[in-house]
Amino acid sequence: MDVMLRLSGVSHAYVGPAGALLAVDGLNLDVATGEFVSLVGPSGCGKTTILNLMAGLIRPSRGRVEIAGEAVTGPDPRIGYMLQQDYLFPWRNIRDNALIGFEIAGERSPEAERRIDRLLAEFGLAGTARRYPHELSGGMRQRAALVRTLAREPEVLLLDEPFSSLDLLIRLQLEDLVWETVRRRGVTAVLVTHDLEEAAAMSDRVVILEASPGRIRSVLDVPASIRTRLPSEARWDPDFGPLFQRLRSLIREPEGGNAGHAG
């Protein structure tokens, strides 16, 4: 199997006036090309730190982050990142927001604009190109943010709780949309979430982290019957209930001597 993302011995400490705080401790993780991996865990388990490391926004204090065998040293066009909220620029219309990746790379062109228009249409946003973010609903805005992320065809998609600010129904729709998009394009995806159901329904593999400092507690493979179904349908699969229970028990498991300090 091809490894797209590799974290080897990655530790990261934030240093501030109060001293150094260990956020991630000795993380080893391989994500195969085209694989969908979820990271779940309590708050303070360094989920966002791990994504920032993968995205090249921060350099690990120890260890190495690789994409397709090369060290990640900074933001990389092969990596797309979706934030918890859309963070579309309110002073740009939807089309100009989606074009920002091209603009930053100095590659804005009629061809790029056509591609964005096609993508917007594909994600049901055809009529909104000239609208401003505040005129759109939360779900539409998050779809526009997805177009912005996919515009330059990243090979890896990092998802930082991108559905957490949405209503349940919209969230389910977007889960399906992202899942389909990722599968169809063969994109490698890493989803950070605190929603165990979401993690189980969307991914091939769920990584359970423990908090302060973040380290891997266990890894759970999702059965094929669930992996191959849309997230909204996977929830009705007979294997889903047991998988969810398993996940829940793994996350609740006391952490030996450390249990008293957790959370």
């Binding site: 995205a55 926004l57 900074g74 933001p75 990389d76 066009p77 990596i79 990142y81 934030l83 918890q84 909220q85 963070y87 620029f89 309110p90 002073w91 740009r92 219309n93 920002i100 990746g101 603009e103 930053i104 790379a105 401003y132 973010p133 505040h134 005129e135 330059r152």
Partner: protein
Amino acid sequence: MPDRRDTGWMRELERRYRAKAARVSLLVGILQAVLLAAFLVLWEAAVRYGWLDELLFSHPTKIARTLADLAASGTLLPHVMTTVIETTAGFVLGTLGGTLLAALLWWFPVAARVLDPYLVVLNSLPKVALGPIFIVGFGPGYLAIIMTAVAVTIIITTLTIYGRFREIDANYLKVVRLFGGTRWQVFRLAVLPASLPTIVSALKVNVGLSWVGVIVGEFLTAKRGLGYLIIYGFQVFNFTLVLSSLIVIGVVAALMYGLVSLVEARMSPGYRVR
């Protein structure tokens, strides 16, 4: 979107709402006019009946006559134009300069920390006190007056806009960085546009501050301008002239403020801060 299924009674509601709004607007307008008229009449009467000193307070008809004479002889317009140009130069340069300084502070965080106490001191200093230094430094004339206005506006503008730069949600900056944006691109694509409303409102505040700088500057050194007219009136004990100039300043300053508000409304279509 309004529901158009049964529009009869809804249109009646709309009509009544509009009629009421129009009545309130009319009432406000009438009250404003009455207030002005009452003030003028009271002023006139108070001086004529000797309740107020005519030398000091003059009276509206005398002021109107003075203004008419000044306008007819063609001496008013040059004074007005001089002051308007100086004031405009003052608030535009003050706002641009303040924005530029704020950008430099953002770019060099260490400089921002080093300069912080100096900016605080400069901000609390009454800048018009620098007027004499400007007159010697730039020569008695327009430049010294404009510099006084810039001095009044630039520090507070720098502090306000730099404060705005720093409070922008870091996730907007993250969006640009994720696409490999440079520091300059972060500034140009996220920081500056996110601060535009603050810059425009600084421009509005600076209109008022710039008037203070220019009038004081003209007190000190000018040979022309509304501030000069006030000082001249004071020197020859012609308080009618002083009050006339004051009224012209009020009217022109209000017009200028209105114009800048108009620019503000035009500048950012569709813009809403989340």
